[in-house]
C-alpha cells in the first residue's frame, strides 16, 4: 500500500487554480506544433480537449468507436449544465457551487479539483453560447435557469431536454472545424485495444479499425483517455449500448490505478424494466422532479391491487398516498439528491409498496402541477419528455402518473488522476467521466456536462504542458518494440476470443447479462459483505466459462459486432471483480455506495436530535476519508490498494442532511 501524490498546488483553496496557471510551464507556439497528442473518445471531454489542443497548435489524433464523433453518449444528457453565474441573483457563487458539489459527493472528492471546476463553470457557458448552443432564454433575450437536485439555487442552464446534445454538437462542430484545418485527424469506428508504455510513460495506443479489423499502432507524446464510464458492467443501464470500460481497463492493466470503482450512481427517474429481453434502460430527466411529486400508496394492499391492475393511481385518495421524499426531506422534498431519492424508491418497493407490474416502480405524478400551472405550462417544460415516456410505455403522463425506478446511470469512479488530470502512469491523462476526480461518491445533477467540458476546454490545455515540457517531441515512434509487443498481445487476445468461432456454446450477451444481474443484485443499490464476497467468488466462474465457451461467428478482418462486444465483456468481467473488491473494502456508506451494515439507526445521536433519519448512509470519516486507487496485480489476483488521503482544508465533512 502506497500513498499517491495528488500534486495539489499550494495556497488558499480559492487561489490555487489562478496561482497554478500563473506559474505552470508554457510551451511556445513554434514548439507546440512539434508535440502530438492522442485523444481517445470524442464526447464532451474528449471532443473539447481535441478541438482546444488543436487550436493551441498541437497535432491531435482523435479516436472513437462510433461512426461519427457526434454520437458519443454525452449526447444523451437531458437536464442541464451547472454554472456559478448567479444570473438569477439568488445568492449563488463559486463557493456555493463548490460546496454543493463537495457535499453532494458526500465528502469523498478532492477539494482543489472541485473548486477549480466551480471556477471554470462560468467560462463553459460563455464558450458554448459563442459556439451557438441554443440554451433556453427568457423573453428579454437573456439566459434562463432552472433548479436541480441537491441545490437550493437556480444555476442550471439547459436546452429543452436535450442539453447534452446541444453541448456535444457545439463541441463536435469545433472539432470538425479543427479537422478541416488539419489540426486533428479523426479516426471514427476505431477502438482502442491497448495502451503502449515506453520507459514507463504512456506513448501510444493500439487500435482496431472496426470496419476492416486491421490492428494498428499510433504513437504520440502523450495519451488522453476520455472514454466515459463503466455503467454497462451492470448490463442494464442508461448508458449507450457501446459504452465500455475497455480503454480505461487496458490502461489499468498497463499500470494505471483505478480509483473508487464502487461509486456508481443509480439515477432515481428511469423507466422501469418490463421484461428480460430488455437491452437498456431509459432515463427520464431529473428536471421532472421540479414539478412531479413522487409517491407510492401507504398500504401494501393498495399497491398490490394496482400491480394486479384492479386499481389505478387516480383511485388512491391523497391521504392514502405516501409522498415519501417530501415526508422524509421536507426542505429538499422531491429535489433530494439522486442517491437518496434512489434508495428511498428501493426502500418503498422492498416494503411491498411498488406500483409497476414487477413490483419495482414508484409514481412520479404531475397531477398537482397540472392543476396549479395548467397543462400548457407543463407541456412547454416537459413536452418532449412526456412524449418520450409515452412512446416507450404507451401510457399518457398527462392523465396517469409516470412510473419510474432507479437505474445505473453514471459512474463516479474512474482512473486515478492528480490535479493535472494525469494518472500515476506518466503521460496518461484522463478526462471526464473516465476519471474519478470531481464527484466523490455521488454526482449532482447537471454536473457531468460541466466536468466533461471543464476538463476538455479549460483544464487539460493548461495542465498538459506540465508533462510535455520535460519530453522531447516525437521521441517515440511506432517502430519502438513496445508497439509490436502490444500489437502481438492484442492479436493474441482476439485469437483467444475467436478460438471457438461459431462452435462456442454461449453468446456474448448471455455472459454480459449474467454478469450484470449478479452485479445489480450484489453490488447495486444496497451492498453487504456477504453479497460482495459471494459476487467475488462467482465472477471467476463466469470468466472461465466465458473464455472457454464464448461463441463468436464471423471473421476478424471485417465488421464483427459480436467480436467487439466480446472484447468489452471480457474486460467487464475482470473489472466487476475489482469493483466488488473496492465495495467490500469500503466499510462505510457514502453517496452511491450503500453498505447496509453502515446506516443510521434509532440509537444514533444525529437521529435522536432529528438531524437525519434512520436508514440514511453512514460515513466513517476516520477510516475511509481516502480515495481507493487499485493497481493491477496480475490475472486472478486481488488488486493492490493505494490510498490518497482526502484533506479537507476549506470545508468540514458533516453528516449530509437534506431534511
Amino acid at each position: 500500500m502506497s500513498s499517491l501524490n495528488s500534486a495539489i498546488p499550494p495556497g488558499p483553496l480559492a487561489e490555487k487554480w489562478t496561482r497554478y496557471k500563473d506559474s505552470a510551464p508554457l510551451i511556445n507556439p513554434a514548439n507546440k506544433r512539434k508535440f502530438s497528442v492522442i485523444v481517445v473518445g470524442s464526447g464532451l471531454a474528449g471532443g473539447s480537449a481535441a478541438a482546444t489542443l488543436s487550436e493551441l497548435g498541437y497535432q491531435v489524433k482523435c479516436f472513437c468507436y462510433q461512426d461519427s464523433p457526434r454520437r458519443a453518449h454525452s449526447i444523451a444528457a437531458q437536464g442541464g449544465i451547472n454554472a456559478a453565474k448567479n444570473y438569477q441573483n439568488d445568492g449563488d457563487s463559486v463557493w456555493r457551487l463548490f460546496y454543493d458539489t463537495i457535499k453532494g459527493g458526500d465528502f469523498r472528492s478532492r477539494e482543489a479539483n472541485v473548486h477549480r471546476l466551480a471556477e471554470v463553470s462560468s467560462n463553459i457557458i460563455d464558450q458554448c453560447v459563442a459556439q451557438g448552443v441554443p440554451f433556453a432564454r427568457e423573453y428579454g433575450g437573456l439566459l434562463a435557469n432552472r433548479s436541480f437536485g441537491g441545490a437550493q439555487v437556480s444555476r442550471t442552464f439547459y436546452a429543452r431536454g436535450q442539453t447534452g446534445q446541444q453541448l456535444l454538437i457545439g463541441c463536435y462542430q469545433a472539432l470538425e472545424k479543427e479537422i478541416a484545418r488539419g489540426g486533428v485527424t479523426m479516426y471514427p469506428r476505431t477502438e482502442m485495444m491497448d495502451l503502449v508504455k515506453v520507459d514507463g510513460h504512456a506513448k501510444g495506443i493500439v487500435v482496431r479499425d472496426l470496419k476492416t479489423g486491421k490492428i494498428e499502432s499510433h504513437a504520440a507524446d502523450c495519451v488522453i483517455l476520455a472514454t466515459g464510464g463503466y455503467g454497462n458492467v451492470f448490463y442494464l443501464s442508461t448508458n449507450a449500448m457501446g459504452c465500455n470500460v475497455m480503454a480505461a481497463f487496458r490502461a489499468y492493466k498497463r499500470g494505471a490505478y483505478f480509483a473508487n470503482p464502487c461509486y456508481t450512481q443509480i439515477h432515481p427517474t428511469c423507466i422501469p424494466v418490463s421484461g428480460d429481453y430488455q437491452s437498456k434502460l431509459t432515463l427520464m430527466s431529473e428536471s421532472l422532479r421540479n414539478d412531479g411529486r413522487i409517491w407510492v400508496p401507504k398500504s401494501r394492499d393498495v399497491a398490490a391491487k394496482i400491480r394486479a391492475g384492479k386499481m389505478t393511481a387516480s383511485d388512491v385518495p391523497d391521504d392514502q398516498r405516501d409522498y415519501y421524499l417530501e415526508r422524509k426531506y421536507p426542505s429538499f422534498g422531491n429535489l433530494a439528491p439522486r442517491d437518496i431519492a434512489s434508495r428511498s424508491a428501493k426502500e418503498a418497493c422492498d416494503d411491498g409498496r411498488g406500483v409497476a407490474k414487477t413490483g419495482l416502480g414508484v409514481y412520479l405524478d404531475f397531477r398537482d402541477a397540472i392543476d396549479r400551472l395548467g397543462k400548457d405550462t407543463i407541456e412547454a417544460r416537459y413536452g418532449n419528455l412526456f412524449q418520450m415516456y409515452n412512446k416507450i410505455s404507451g401510457e399518457d403522463p398527462y392523465t396517469s402518473p409516470m412510473k419510474i425506478y432507479p437505474a445505473v446511470h453514471y459512474t463516479m469512479g474512474g482512473l486515478w488522476v492528480d490535479y493535472n488530470l494525469m494518472s500515476n502512469l506518466k503521460g496518461l491523462h484522463v478526462l471526464g467521466e473516465a476519471n474519478f476526480s470531481d464527484h466523490g461518491a455521488n454526482r449532482l445533477g447537471a454536473s457531468a456536462l460541466m466536468q466533461g467540458l471543464a476538463d476538455g476546454y479549460f483544464v487539460i490545455p493548461a495542465t498538459l504542458p506540465s508533462y510535455l515540457v520535460n519530453e522531447t517531441p516525437g521521441s517515440v515512434t511506432t517502430s519502438n518494440p513496445a508497439f509490436r509487443e502490444a500489437e502481438e498481445a492484442v492479436n493474441a487476445r482476439i485469437g483467444q476470443l475467436m478460438k471457438n468461432g461459431a462452435s462456442g456454446t454461449r453468446t456474448v450477451d448471455s455472459f454480459h447479462r449474467e454478469l450484470g444481474f449478479l452485479m445489480w443484485d450484489k453490488c447495486g443499490m444496497g451492498r453487504t459483505k456477504e453479497g460482495l464476497e459471494e459476487a467475488i467468488s462467482k465472477i471467476p466462474a463466469i470468466r472461465e466459462d466465458f473464455w472457454a465457451n464464448v461463441k463468436i461467428p464471423g471473421s476478424t478482418s471485417s465488421l464483427n459486432m459480436e467480436l467487439e462486444k466480446a472484447g468489452r465483456v471480457a474486460d467487464f468481467i475482470d473489472f466487476a471483480e475489482m469493483t466488488c473488491h473496492d465495495a467490500l473494502n469500503r466499510e462505510e456508506s457514502c453517496g452511491g455506495h450503500f453498505r447496509e451494515e453502515y446506516q443510521f439507526t434509532e440509537e444514533d445521536e444525529d437521529v435522536k436530535s432529528g438531524f437525519t433519519n434512520p436508514g440514511e448512509a453512514k460515513r466513517r470519516d476516520d477510516e475511509f476519508s481516502y480515495v481507493a486507487a487499485w493497481g493491477d496485480n496480475g490475472p486472478g489476483k486481488k488488486p493492490e490498494l493505494h490510498k490518497e488521503n482526502l484533506e479537507f482544508e476549506a470545508v468540514t465533512p458533516s453528516v449530509r442532511s437534506y431534511k
Binding site: 473539447s48 478541438a51 482546444t52 461512426d67 461519427s68 457526434r70 454520437r71 458519443a72 453518449h73 449526447i75 444523451a76 453565474k85 444570473y87 457557458i125 460563455d126 464558450q127 453560447v129 459563442a130 459556439q131 451557438g132 441554443p134 440554451f135 432564454r137 427568457e138 433575450g141 437573456l142 436546452a159 429543452r160 436535450q162 446534445q165 446541444q166 454538437i169 462542430q173 469545433a174 470538425e176 472545424k177 478541416a180 479523426m186 449507450a240 449500448m241 418490463s274 429481453y277 430488455q278 437491452s279 437498456k280 431509459t282 432515463l283 418520450m388 412512446k391 416507450i392 476546454y457 479549460f458 490545455p461 461459431a502 462452435s503 453468446t507 450477451d509 461463441k551 461467428p553 465488421l559
Partner: protein, 251 residues
C-alpha cells in the same frame, strides 16, 4: 407475436447483397424494434450464423446511430421517432416487415444494415460551425437573443444527423440536414460573420459528396425523427442565393 422479416444482408461493401427471410417468433409486445432484432440475432447465433449487423448505440432516440428503413420508410412510418424508439406494439401478429439499410450513393453500405455516414461530418467540417477559439468568448449574457430566434435556432439544431432525410428522399438529397445546420447557426447572432462562407462551403461539400438535390417533395420532413421543417431548406436556398450573389459581385 410472430413475424416474418425480410432483411437486407450484405457481407461487405462490394458484396451484391440480397433480401433474406427470417421468422421472428414469440416477440413480446413491449419489446422495442431493436430488441426484437436482438432476439432474432440470438436465434441466428444459436445456429452459428453471422448475426444481422445494424447500427445502434444510445437506444433512446438521440445519438442518431440507428438507421433502418422499415417497410420502405426510414425509422418506420410512425412520426417523429428513431428506429430505436419503434415498439413492437405498433405491429400485428403475422406481419411481414421489410428491413433495409438507408440507401444513398453518399452512404455506402459497410455490412448488412450498417452504413457509412462520414459524408455528413465532412459537410459540417466545410462550414457548420462558429469559429470561436476556446477562451475567447464574451460573457454569455452580453448578446441577448430573442426567445423566438433562440427557439427557431433550437428547432433546427435538434437534428441528430441520422440521415433519414437522405434515405427517404427519392434523390438522396441532404438538403434537410444541411439546411438544419445552416439555419441553426445562421439564425443566431453568433453565426452572422461566417454566414455566407458557411452556406457556400457546406453546399459545395454536399454536392461533392454525391447527394442529390431537392425536388421539394418533403419526404425528408415527414420522416425526420426530430420533425425538422422543410422551411430550413427554403432558408438554405435563400441564404445560398444571397451568398452566391455577394460572391459574384465580390463583396
Amino acid at each position: 407475436m410472430n413475424l416474418t422479416l425480410k432483411v437486407w444482408r450484405q457481407a461487405h461493401a462490394d458484396d451484391r447483397g440480397e433480401i433474406k427471410t427470417y421468422e421472428a417468433n414469440d416477440i413480446p409486445e413491449e419489446a422495442s424494434f431493436l430488441e426484437m432484432l436482438d432476439i432474432v440475432n440470438e436465434q441466428i447465433l444459436e445456429k452459428g450464423d453471422d448475426p444481422i449487423h445494424f447500427d445502434h448505440d444510445c437506444r433512446e432516440g438521440i445519438c442518431g446511430m440507428c438507421s433502418l428503413n422499415i417497410n420502405g420508410v426510414p425509422h418506420s412510418k410512425e412520426k417523429g421517432i428513431t428506429t430505436c424508439q419503434v415498439h413492437m406494439r405498433k405491429f400485428r401478429d403475422g406481419d411481414t416487415i421489410w428491413i433495409e439499410p438507408f440507401r444513398a450513393k453518399a452512404f455506402p453500405i459497410v455490412k448488412d444494415l450498417v452504413i457509412d455516414r462520414t459524408a455528413f461530418d465532412r459537410i459540417v467540417a466545410a462550414g457548420g460551425y462558429v469559429e470561436v477559439r476556446t477562451g475567447s468568448a464574451v460573457d454569455a449574457n452580453s448578446v441577448p437573443i430573442s426567445k423566438p430566434d433562440a427557439d427557431a435556432a433550437f428547432d433546427a439544431a435538434a437534428c441528430i444527423g441520422c440521415g433519414a432525410c437522405v434515405a427517404a428522399c427519392k434523390n438522396a438529397s441532404a438538403m434537410l440536414f444541411v439546411g438544419a445546420k445552416a439555419a441553426h447557426l445562421n439564425l443566431l447572432p453568433q453565426g452572422q460573420p461566417e454566414k455566407d462562407k458557411r452556406v457556400l462551403g457546406m453546399v459545395r461539400q454536399m454536392d461533392a459528396e454525391g447527394f442529390g438535390n431537392c425536388t421539394n417533395q418533403y419526404e425528408c420532413e415527414a420522416v425526420c425523427p426530430k420533425e425538422i421543417s422543410a422551411d430550413v431548406i427554403a432558408k438554405l436556398n435563400r441564404d445560398y442565393a444571397k451568398a452566391a450573389v455577394k460572391e459574384a459581385v465580390g463583396r
